[in-house]
């Protein structure tokens, strides 16, 4: 269990994280928020990279402040920009990181082989990291974060830059890893959250709100999502209306009709029909409401 109590972080006068409280259990927790909301700051604090300005964190009963070295052995962290030694081979890199994680030398080799299989890189173990594709590097990043079987896994924007296949593979891996640990998965791609997470932490301007499940977020847009097949003129009028927000657009070229989904408190057009909201729309409503 990860217990965060009154956690704050200030950089000089700027508040990056403001009196945050939440408790997390095993499973995948999405950390969703716009750019600059404080996602990376929160993850870095949880990863012990930053020290909080105030507040406390406990992981399975261990206080971060008093047991920093023990905590570091309990967590795995995959930063947004994965730190890699490009001249080392995949296996060498993992050995190097493994040693610095305190994994016994005797266990290391077996552990690495297992992890490489898990991230589907067993055929690349003797390839230099500099020669790997972006997706493979992400997988090396996740491998180094889970090789010591951490109780808390922190992944920061892991799917950015991945092709659809890699992204799919990555989501499955995260899902699998979350079976017996807490995985905090930071992203601003709602699709990733929808596909992998059980719970969501919404974060904006350093303030965190917790939603117990994905539907809670989706439901925020309940009754506010409209679908409409409109001509160009009507579409332009809605687009110019500050009370409405177009969340999805698809153009039909032949008869100049535009299919779109609109978030609005009131019916934006006489032909608009209410639609079931998705996570992204719930998130947008939450963003606008905050």
């Amino acid at each position: 269990m990860l217990k965060v109590n009154q956690l704050s972080k200030k950089f000089k006068r700027r508040i990056a994280l403001d009196e945050t409280n939440f408790i997390l259990e095993n499973g995948t927790i999405g950390l969703l928020g716009p750019n600059g909301a404080g996602k990376t700051t929160l993850l870095r604090i949880l990863a012990t990279y930053y020290e909080p300005t105030s507040g406390s964190i406990k992981l399975n009963g261990k206080d971060y402040l008093k047991n920093r070295e023990i905590i570091r052995q309990m967590i795995g962290y995959m930063p947004q920009n994965i730190g890699l030694f490009p001249q080392l081979k995949v296996k060498e890199f993992l050995s190097y990181i493994g040693l610095m994680r305190g994994i016994e030398r005797n266990d290391l080799s077996g552990q690495i082989d297992k992890i490489l299989q898990e991230v589907n890189l067993d055929n690349k173990s003797n390839v230099k990291i500099t020669s790997l594709s972006g997706g493979m590097k992400q997988r090396v990043g996740i491998a180094q974060a889970i090789m010591h079987d951490p109780q808390l896994l922190l992944v920061d924007e892991p799917t950015a830059g991945l092709d659809p296949e890699e992204r799919m593979r990555f989501r499955n891996l995260i899902k699998k890893l979350a079976q017996n640990r807490i995985v905090v998965f930071s992203t601003h791609i709602t699709e990733d959250i929808a596909m992998t997470c059980d719970k969501v932490l919404l974060i904006k301007k350093g303030i965190v709100s917790k939603c117990e499940n994905i539907h809670d977020v989706t439901n925020l847009a309940s009754g506010k999502v409209w679908s409409l097949a409109a001509d160009i003129e009507a579409y332009n009028r809605i687009a110019a209306d500050s009370r409405a927000f177009i969340s999805q657009v698809s153009e039909q070229n032949e008869d100049q009709i535009v299919n779109c989904r609109i978030i609005a408190e009131e019916q934006p057009h006489p032909s608009a029909k209410q639609a079931f909201p998705n996570l992204e729309e719930g998130y947008m409503v939450w963003l606008q409401g905050n």
Binding site: R44, A47, T48, Y49, R68, E69, R72, Q73, I75, Y77, P79, N81, I82, G83, L84, F85, P86, Q87, L88, E92, S95, Y96, I97, L99, M100, R101, G102, R105, K128, Q144
Partner: protein, 610 residues
Amino acid sequence: MIILLSILKYEIKQFLRRPIWIVLFIVSIIFCIVLPRENFTDIYDLPSMVYFVMCINLLYLFYGAEEARFEQRNYLDEQVRNLPYQNKYRLGKLLYWSLISFTYYLIFFVSILSYYLFYLQVGFALSTFQTTFVYTFFIWFIPFFFSTIIGYILYSLLPNISCYLLIIIVWFLIMPYNSMLGFIPTSLGAWLINGDPNITKVISVYDMEIMKVNRGYYVQRSFMLIILVCLYTLLTFNLKKVGRYSLVLLLLFSLCIPYFSPFVPQINNRQTNSNIGQKNFFTETVLLEKATDYTLNNYIFDINHHYSKHNLSYKVKINVSADNSDIQLALLDDFKVKDIKFNNKNVTYIHQDNIIALSLPELHGEITLTAETETYDAIAPTSYELIATTPWYPMNPKEALNPYKNGNVESYQINLSELSSVTTNLEIANDQKLQGEAYGPTILKGNYKEKDNYLYPYSVEIEEIQINKERVFNEIENINDRLAANLAPSCESVIVTTLYPAFSANPSECYLYKNEDINQSNNIFTNVYLNGGDTSLFEAIFNNVIEHESWQNYLKREYDEETITRITSYYKRLSEEQRTQLIQKWYKEMEGTVSAEQMIQDMEDKYAEG
């Protein structure tokens, strides 16, 4: 320990897989040996590689900066900072940099030694190797290592292209360039220096004096190590607040070391060296007969040689008995007088142009004089030569001008701060004091040998000195013939000097410079035959060089061009016999201090005689 070794292993692997640095390092070694190879003659030349070593340091500064840039480009800080052994990783990086710089140093050092041994075929003793190794360890290896850390710290603090400009500025300030150009005061620069603090050549009985590492080096290198490691640790280690504050305190404390350290790294930065040599003593002050008519006796010295600071100070008590209250004492300007007392009361004095003028309250009593020197060439960090014929101590100017003719025997008692490796013309008493009677005290510190009334540097063979002495006697015979004089220094005992490049003598001792090629005949002539005053015209005539352009330029400092032209033109017209007659006359009547007018007049008369 295993983790540190593993870190080393992986860092070395990465280093070997980035060939650019290997190539740069190897090329730098090749350049540093090939380019200055013409100047390599002996192992003692190593300090003259200062420019090349500075360039290598710049390379290491860039290497350190590139290490920091590499980490930032590959986001390694965030990657490793949350690892349980991140501090060991940072420590491992320090070890790795020390290993890289040490390996580089070792290859560099061995390459140069091999070049000397196998190409130049210069052999050297084990002690020479030891001195060289210690010197290069402190002046090459440690600065290379420190440069890496400095480069890393600078780029970590200023992670952009302007950092490289900053590195070049820092390089100028902390390299021996600062000693040469004085961007920042050398007293401060010596503490910041990351290279050789003593780039001025030091002449000493020890050929490798300049390579002797003094305590100041140890203190300075430790000072720099503490500062750099503190900064590096603060920048990179995961530390608790207590640890961080302790490091800041240690850093502040270390910054105070230069203020209270009794040892200084810069023992030798002499921009205003004394001009000893040629003549023992020279003054343009008019010496008054009455002011030099006194006797000095019963000298009691307390002498301190400050090895680390490369200076020497003493306090001397002397009994004086004078006929007049105003007296003149000879003391080289290099020895700065702190105070003079007469019978324990301060007296006023003027010390300039190698002469102290003072007024005695009474005609008989005890003078106490305290003096210190930092500039006297005959004092090296680990050795010195204080010889009886030179006014390094207060003596009568007449004796200083010509110790052979005007020397007097006095009694001496000398307490030395350090008696080891001291050789003297006095006796070493049981209580470790030097005492006895002599024409002046001679104290040599360093490795000297004594055999058959010869006292000479360890590096010289007695046969060489005997040949040198014979040559001196031949010269004296020649000069006697030319001047119709009959001077004959006994050279009962012969003392061979290294730091004092001139011949001089008193009635019982002769002082020979170790190298016979150093213009012996001119030294003998000026130091034994000539008295005070300006003898430059006489010397030019005697040495038959009045027509030489260099001498004429020299004489132009004292005489106008027309006078010199007239002397030269008359000189040309005189026969060899007439010249000899005039030389003998001028020596006999004035001991060489003939004026230009007198010289022209005498030459006119002689020419007129036909």
